[in-house]
């Protein structure tokens, strides 16, 4: 098994070229899946027997919540790769993840709170899922704050990478403590997601949205990563060739 592909990825020009080539391969399927999922979810799927049409916000809420965690995991893994193998590109990936992940987290919080307005009659309920989502947003903000506070790129990379790794160790602990905290303090909330007997007409669009959001993240990540690499390598010669040639 040869590892040359891995080492090639570590070189910014290679990663930049590969990212340029791959972006449409993620962006187009993402667009198709999201459009199809939205049509299926908002038009074709039958209304819920309890929540009526209100449940349809799930088609944005659940994928955003799922992405908020997945982006954090991606960020932490690439941060660890950058920390261990001192790969500049991995650090660029981690740095590009933060803002995307924070946006998904905000989307999950906003849609969750709008949904809560209909279901619980209040915009904010200290529901364990919403609370751990909020803490996750603080983790993203801390990461971005630390990056912004350190001027030197390499030090910012390594410091924020360590923070991301420490954070990912903590995410499950935070999640479970928030769940226990809430179950001990108040009755379980009315909302129960993930009922196994969810009909296919509702489930299929949801899965399409999940896949679409994942691909959308991949496409956004590639674009942001290219910008990040350009910014970091702005004095390098290959940039002139890549942009003009």
């Amino acid at each position: 098994m040869s590892w040359t592909w891995f080492h090639r990825l570590a070189s910014p020009p290679c990663a930049y070229a590969l990212a340029s080539r791959l972006t449409p391969w993620f962006a187009w399927p993402a667009g198709v899946l999201i459009a199809g999922g939205l049509y299926g979810g908002l038009v074709l799927a039958p209304p819920d027997y309890q929540q009526g049409d209100d449940f349809r916000i799930i088609y944005v809420h659940a994928p955003s919540a799922w992405m908020s965690l997945m982006v954090y995991t991606t960020m932490a893994v690439s941060a660890a790769v950058g920390l261990i193998w001192r790969m500049k590109v991995a650090h660029a990936v981690a740095a590009s993840c933060a803002a995307i992940g924070a946006s998904f987290t905000v989307a999950a919080l906003v849609t969750g709170s709008l949904w809560g307005r209909k279901m619980w009659g209040t915009y904010w309920e200290w529901d364990p899922r919403l609370t751990s989502e909020l803490i996750l947003l603080f983790l993203y903000l801390g990461y971005m704050g630390l990056r912004a506070a350190i001027d030197e790129v390499q030090r910012a990379d390594r410091a924020s990478a360590l923070l991301a790794v420490v954070g990912i160790v903590n995410v499950p602990i935070i999640h479970y403590s928030v769940t226990w905290w809430n179950s001990l303090h108040q009755a379980p909330s009315v909302m129960k997601l993930g009922r196994p007997e969810i009909p296919a007409a509702m489930l299929v669009p949801l899965l399409m949205m999940l896949a679409g959001f994942t691909l959308l993240f991949a496409a956004l990540l590639l674009v942001r990563m290219r910008a990040e690499i350009l910014n970091r390598e702005r004095t390098a010669n290959w940039i002139r060739e890549a942009l003009i040639g």
């Binding site: 603080f138 801390g142 506070a149 360590l162 420490v166 954070g167 602990i173 928030v178």
Partner: protein
């Protein structure tokens, strides 16, 4: 090698304690902060002891959390400033042990005094006498966990000017589990129930923190010194 790492750690611990007792002003600051914050709540909410007793656990814990966070800024700052920390990193001794010793000293100097003082504040908030150990024990354990977690943030923000707010932003989300179980233990104690379960969970977090946090802190110190 192991024993020399331990004895080096012991020397660092003794040094930090000695230095702290020669600058008593810094020692008193977190305690005064804790006292002031707990005084704010009756003024802001209500002087009725029955109402204060309801929120006593939360008030004590948030105040203890903020007070120990306030003191974190000083954990590495002076040593980084005069180059001591750099010498630690270059000394050939395990930096993990040395930062662990510094963190332990920090806990002995802020966490333990806070745990001793918290029952007094608890009495002022209408907590019954029987619940005082239920304040002291969780706060003693919890502040240890906070010192361990916070040390990572303090090390990461070393070279940054006006790092106070950033340190708070980095540390507080990571410290939430400690707050949750700590406040729960104290709350159960105030209500006269058994608080063993959350206390054990707190102890588990301390064990996890003792095993992992000094490694991360040492790595963070090295990054900041680069």
């Amino acid at each position: 090698m192991k024993s020399s790492a331990l004895s080096a750690a012991r020397l660092v611990l003794v040094r930090d304690l000695k230095l702290a007792f020669r600058k008593r002003g810094q020692l008193v600051q977190p305690l005064a902060f804790f006292a002031i914050v707990t005084t704010l709540f009756p003024l802001a909410i209500s002087p009725e002891l029955a109402r204060l007793r309801e929120i006593a656990a939360g008030v004590l814990w948030v105040a203890a959390l903020l007070a120990s966070l306030l003191a974190l800024e000083f954990l590495f700052r002076d040593d980084a400033h005069d180059g001591t920390l750099e010498q630690y990193a270059l000394s050939g001794q395990s930096l993990t042990w040395l930062v662990f010793a510094k963190t332990a000293a920090h806990w002995l100097l802020t966490g333990v005094p806070l745990a001793v003082m918290a029952p007094l504040a608890g009495l002022a908030l209408g907590v019954p006498y029987a619940a005082l150990t239920g304040i002291m024990a969780p706060i003693a354990l919890g502040t240890l966990a906070l010192s361990l977690i916070g040390a990572i943030g303090a090390a990461l923000t070393l070279g940054i000017r006006r790092s106070g707010v950033l340190l708070t932003l980095l540390t507080l989300p990571l410290a939430m589990p400690v707050l949750i179980f700590g406040a729960q233990a104290t709350d159960l104690a105030v209500r006269g129930a058994s608080y063993a379960a959350p206390l054990y969970l707190l102890a588990a977090m301390v064990v996890l923190g003792v095993t992992l946090a000094p490694l991360a802190t040492a790595a963070a110190v090295r990054i900041s010194l680069e």
